[in-house]
Symmetry: C2
Subunit: 422 residues, 2 copies
């Protein structure tokens, strides 16, 4: 990990005020540690790119340049090539969302879409609503535009709509710029917003006239349970974010945004200012991969792999984790969210866990206040092999057990109160 050294900065005081709000992501800081070969990583949400058929992808990239050099190597349009937007409409149609290619803007991963939406909508102090905990990258993207972020807690059915309604009642009509939600296999909580709550969320958004941003990176990675219709399929004013990172490869940095026309026009201006245009090379490569590969079969295999890894993690948690811990049971995606009694600060366990050869992400990074979620952790099951997952959870349990022993002794001695059972 390393200790933070104070570096003299002769430009201190000259940065924009927004930079005071932009924190480094704990997830990213962990990537360095996680790359040590002896470490079992539950930290990064890194897809299993070893499942991408190498020859098919390599030939797609090769042919992109050999056969479409004038396009693949040149500047492209800001909205992205019609060809890839057409493929995206097919993907979306399978998901119950009927679109024209014109409805779509291709972005540098869904992360760029988050940044562009924040840039387009947020003045300092504007209220936005997210789940709590929520995606670290969204917090980073939004925070740079200095909003007032209100977090709505979740249960096993996703965002607590009663609490959303209470918040909206306080804020009033148009009282927030948008509601940001990850309805499927939420990052980091792993839970899925129920169909009934989706309908209710949209009713409330209409009633209070507030935009909804639906971020759906994991929707195609369901291992069990029935498909739940995306918000965008129920309401065409919803802004929908998709990505090729989980159905092809994050290394291409390709994602997309579906949005109503006037919003798309603003976002395109913001995108021109941000990078002129996306990578035509990546777009042509992805087009050729999706046209020339049995990618559905690849995705099925990938889902099975992730399902095995989730099973390995849930089994290992059952076997090794202490009775005081509770965790979610995701039906898809990449993540399990673990909650410990409030006296346990997972951030204080991290260095020791790395020494024991295992990493996770402490929970406080998933809240904008940096205080909530300290007794929680996110475990990514997507990347490690099942046997490594079992071993990693065993190691992590040891580290946790050491801490808990101490607390149990204190509680037994009456030195601290026993935690309430939820």
């Amino acid at each position: 990990m390393g200790t933070a050294r104070v570096v003299f900065d002769r430009w201190d005081g000259r940065y924009a005020e927004r930079m005071a709000n932009v924190r480094s992501s704990a997830v990213r800081d962990l990537f360095a540690a996680a790359s040590r070969p002896d470490i079992i990583s539950f930290s990064g949400g890194m897809p299993a790119v070893d499942h991408v058929p190498a020859e098919a992808a390599a030939m797609a990239a090769h042919d992109a340049i050999m056969h479409e050099r004038e396009c693949a190597l040149q500047y492209g349009s800001s909205e992205g090539r019609p060809e890839i937007r057409s493929i995206i409409t097919e993907l979306m149609a399978e998901n119950g969302i009927r679109l024209s290619p014109d409805d779509i803007v291709v972005t540098a991963g869904a992360q760029q879409a988050l940044d562009l939406l924040a840039k387009t909508f947020l003045d300092p102090g504007d209220v936005i609503i997210t789940e709590g905990p929520t995606y670290v990258g969204a917090l980073q993207a939004f925070s740079a535009y200095e909003p007032d972020i209100r977090c709505i807690p979740m249960d096993d059915d996703g965002m607590r709509i009663d609490q959303l309604e209470a918040e909206l009642r306080k804020l009033g009509p148009r009282g927030a710029k948008f509601i940001y939600t990850i309805p499927n296999f939420q990052n980091p909580a792993g839970v899925t917003l129920s169909a009934e709550r989706r309908r209710r969320l949209l009713e409330l958004a209409r009633e209070y006239d507030i935009l909804v941003i639906e971020d759906d990176p994991y929707g195609r990675l369901r291992f069990e349970g029935g498909h739940v219709k995306p918000l965008r399929a129920l309401d065409d004013e919803v802004i929908y974010l998709g990505t090729f990172s989980k159905i092809f490869a994050p290394g291409l940095r390709l994602g997309w945004m579906v949005a109503p026309k006037p919003i798309r026009a603003k976002v395109l201006l913001a995108k021109q200012a941000a990078d002129l245009c996306g990578s035509a090379f990546a777009q042509v490569t992805a087009e050729r991969y999706f046209m020339g590969t049995r990618w559905r079969r690849v995705l099925q295999g990938l889902s099975r792999t992730y399902a095995e890894r989730r099973d390995a993690m849930l089994e290992a948690l059952d076997e090794h984790f202490p009775a005081e811990a509770r965790w979610t049971h995701p039906e898809g995606g990449f993540f399990v969210w673990v909650e410990f009694p409030s006296f346990l600060d997972t951030g204080q366990l991290l260095a020791e866990a790395v020494e024991h050869g295992v990493t996770f992400v402490p929970g406080d990074g998933f809240f904008p206040d940096g205080r909530s979620g300290r007794n929680c952790m996110r475990l990514a099951f997507c990347y490690a092999q099942p046997e490594s997952i079992s071993e990693g959870i065993r190691r992590l349990a040891e580290v946790i057990e050491d801490r808990l022993e101490l607390y149990r002794a204190f509680i037994a001695a009456g030195a601290i109160p026993a935690p309430e059972v939820a």
Copy 2:
């Protein structure tokens, strides 16, 4: 082209204030028109990607996935891969700038670097200094952060340093956040900042304690005259922006920023928020291309091609353009800047020019006020073949001549005053 239709926008009034400052780029709006096969385009600064050796580039892309799939398809580090940063240090060393790979951040083209620097430094109302005219994309990137942009005019030796000094004296120490300059073959003016003025600019920047951003996309495309040392070679606090767009291909969206360590740290946070990381796929592909190709020879061929096109344009201008026009004589790069008497508004010529099968960029887009430069145009000689260039300039001269005839008649009749001769 088309006429702007007023579309009802039910989200009007809910966008961020900054969006009022973000204008669409005239250059980008022209791309659609420029793609008509009968049109000779002098509008976009599009590199001649048909000179990139297709098989070598295609194999680089193929092998990136076949041999480095786990890296090329995966998320990467925010600062970019050490391998490509190492190649960039070699490129920079040939340019007189000694660096370690740690000094470099890889960006999505130099455009992303402009956006990230603006995001890092600019609060609304902050003063920045640019050349006038200056790069449209820089104006777009900066404007989104609502700065007060002061433009310094140029002559054949680049930015008028006497005028820069006068502006700095008015502003006082730290009175601007940064000075943005394109010292080599400036976009759009085509002029190069002299060695003497570079030294003087740096002295002034030191004296007034103001950051300098040196944007150098065309530095390696010099056709004649001696190499002038980059600002960064003279002062290691200068922020230097480079790009692979002109020495390899824009379709990969790869550029880089050299900046002092504390500034790099801030920019990296802004970059994480913007796109998590750049494309590892593009980086590995570029690494393999630069390691496995005689790219210097390719670049020499490319420079010869651009030199022929510049010659064709300058000859055609001499032959066809009216006596009232003046234009720059670039020693490299992509652009010639043409100035007409003040009564000619080039924006009013554009539709007619397109009808005649030729495009250019009206001058006002290169000024933040949208008013200056109306009697100017930018002509890009980089993309069309020499014979097309001659024909295109002939067509353009016809359109201009039609307008001038009318004005000459008015002047002869004493209805409007004769223009001053500069």
